[in-house]
Amino acid sequence: MNAAIDFVPVWTLILGVGVFFYVLLDGFDLGVGMLFGLEPDLRSRNTVMNSIAPIWDGNETWLVLGGVALLAAFPLAFAIIIPAVYFPLLVMLLALAFRGVAFEFRYRDVEHKTFWDHGFCYGSTIGTFAQGVTLGAFIQGFKVDGRHFAGSSFDFLTPFSILTGVALIFGYGLLGAGWLILKTEGDIQARARRHGRLCLGGVLVCIAAVSVWTPLVNTAIAQRWLSWPNIALFSPVPAATALVAYGAWRALNGSSHAGTFVAAVGLFALSYLGIVISLWPMIVPYKYTLWEAASSPATQSFLLVGTLFLLPVILVYTSWSYWVFRGKVRADVGYH
């Protein structure tokens, strides 16, 4: 096939947006899962749980989409990155399994409610941490030999990947707090504001640490950000981050119901943009570009036809299901 059209940019966009959607959607419900553990009584725990019960499953579906889209559109990246993060992924999948079944089980298995409550809270926390570690391992890069990962299954474990793991706990915590402020009232909302302030502090410290650390250990990334004219082009990113952080702080302390969530989304978008700027156009960092790792044009075009048609449909009915459960959590909808 003489590829007249280059499908890589559109697949980059789809994968990029898909992963971002996953981070936002499962991010807030994993965050809610962590904050669930801090709720003092049964009534508030039930309300917190019901704020995400009808939608978490759809949110997690974006993880599967991210995985298979990477496999289909950039198979070389899939074949190198996934074995390299063998253990973080294992831990993430097992933790997510525990938290996923906890929705049904804690409600139906009353004798072991405490066990499943712990499963839900720790599962959410450990799953988040493992995702953050995976991100850190990705940014630090992998040992590659030809088309294979050539390092050991424990290469992922570094102080940097642990930092990104902790960062994501605060980040998802902030998203979760934003969601709870949006969906609940009274004492639960007040607690969410308090936890949100704590998470925001943590997030900002972590963002600062990662932003200083990365260019220090990686000269290419330092070059990318600090050389002229990039420094002028990219300096709005940290400036905007500071501004959005201030907005988040104002929303947490004010009376806004949606402000925290919106600002948290903004912080995630800017951090995401920061990573893209640092690594572009690499998909296997420092080794293979998006174009080198791409699947054949025949593969990408075949999948694109259906995706361009179905993705808007998915967005429509997913929005509909969110719309059905709009507003503050109702006491009579969800598990009791």
Partner: protein, 463 residues
Amino acid sequence: MELDPVFLSRLQFAWVIAWHILMPAFTVGLASYIALLEGLHFATGREIYFRISGFWIKIFSVAFGVGVVSGVVMPFQFGTNWSRYSDATSNVIAPLFAYEGITAFFLESAFLGVLLFGRKLVPPWAHFASALMVALGTLFSSFWILAANSWMQTPAGYEVIEGRYFPTDWMQIIFNPSFPYRLGHTVVGFYVTTGFVVLGVAAYLIRRRDFAAEGRIMMSMTLWLLTILVPLQIFLGDQHGLNTLEYQPAKLAAIESHWDTGRRVPLILFAVPDQKNETNHFVLEVPLLGSLILAHDVNGEIKGLKDFPTADRAPVAVTFYAFRVMVGIGTLMLVVVGFSWWLRLRGRLYDSPWFQRACLGMAPLGFVAVLAGWTTTEVGRQPWTVYGLLRTADSVSPSLSGFDVLLSLLGYMAVYLIIFPAGALLMLRLIRRGPAAAAASPPVESGRPSRPITVQLEPESRP
């Protein structure tokens, strides 16, 4: 002992998929059954359909939850443990996995929330439509995943460039030679499995007497369905067998434990295959029947295992026994359906204690048959991941040590041995509570009885 990452990765894949497949084996059929019940309730307005549907929706939600979390694990297995397989084949089959995601998973998950929790929030037709969408999602999912699986069994529509596979014809890739048979045989197998679960639960409810009316409706409906599906399944299995004879003769030889090529071969009912000495012990066989069943011709030629290099033979004993377990259960199912007609025509379908006991005993056997069938086809595909092209030993991630895989396998074992038995116990508990409890409990509360109350309250609540 040397830890072999290939063997342990196979064990891990078998472990995670065997547990996972039990859930779709149940939810694919159950989703359709719930949609049917919701449709009947919507059309006739009879409360009893509504109670039965509510009862099964609760059980469905547990099974589906466990199915989702164990399903999320699956695509990552290809990368973590089988990265060389992924690198080689993804240009051809990865889009099929991706299409499964975008056609099925989103459909299921978005409408499941409404099905479980939205009874009071949406009009009845929208609730029924949600049930339909969930059912449709499970069927789309089966379509794509079995297309990918079939391509690994009977690859078509590809070209090989530097050891990697590239697409040449998507229709041939999706509708590869074994796909129509595998799709039919698997989906009908899932429906039959669900059917026998519903039948067993119906027998249990009739025996308990307090929900006998619900039990009778479930039993009658299900036996009608099984009357069509069980014979259909046997026919589809036979057609699938002819397809295997044509495209995967080495697998068929392993299934039948035939060592020598020949015509007018016997059907081996039982034997102890001896792979090392290329022979069978303790053979119980019926003359000529092998050729007749396998090739539909007494003089039909059946290739023996000795025609294939030792390195290309599947593990014979596992394949041979697994197949016989599946066929044995299929035969039992046919017997049960036959007896049900004998009872029905005498007007005694609902009051035969031994038939009810038989139904109870049959309830879990569909799952055993699904696992046995799956084992037959997947172990029978060995030593290949892509039949005849890519060896399993050349598919595993090169970075993995045996210790790595042992650790992850232990992790999967520990977690699955908590989650799956817990899920099973919860489903059994829901069954014990019966349909009435389901109707009284809020997540599946009727929209209709509550409507007058809402109408009364609304004017007052407005200022």
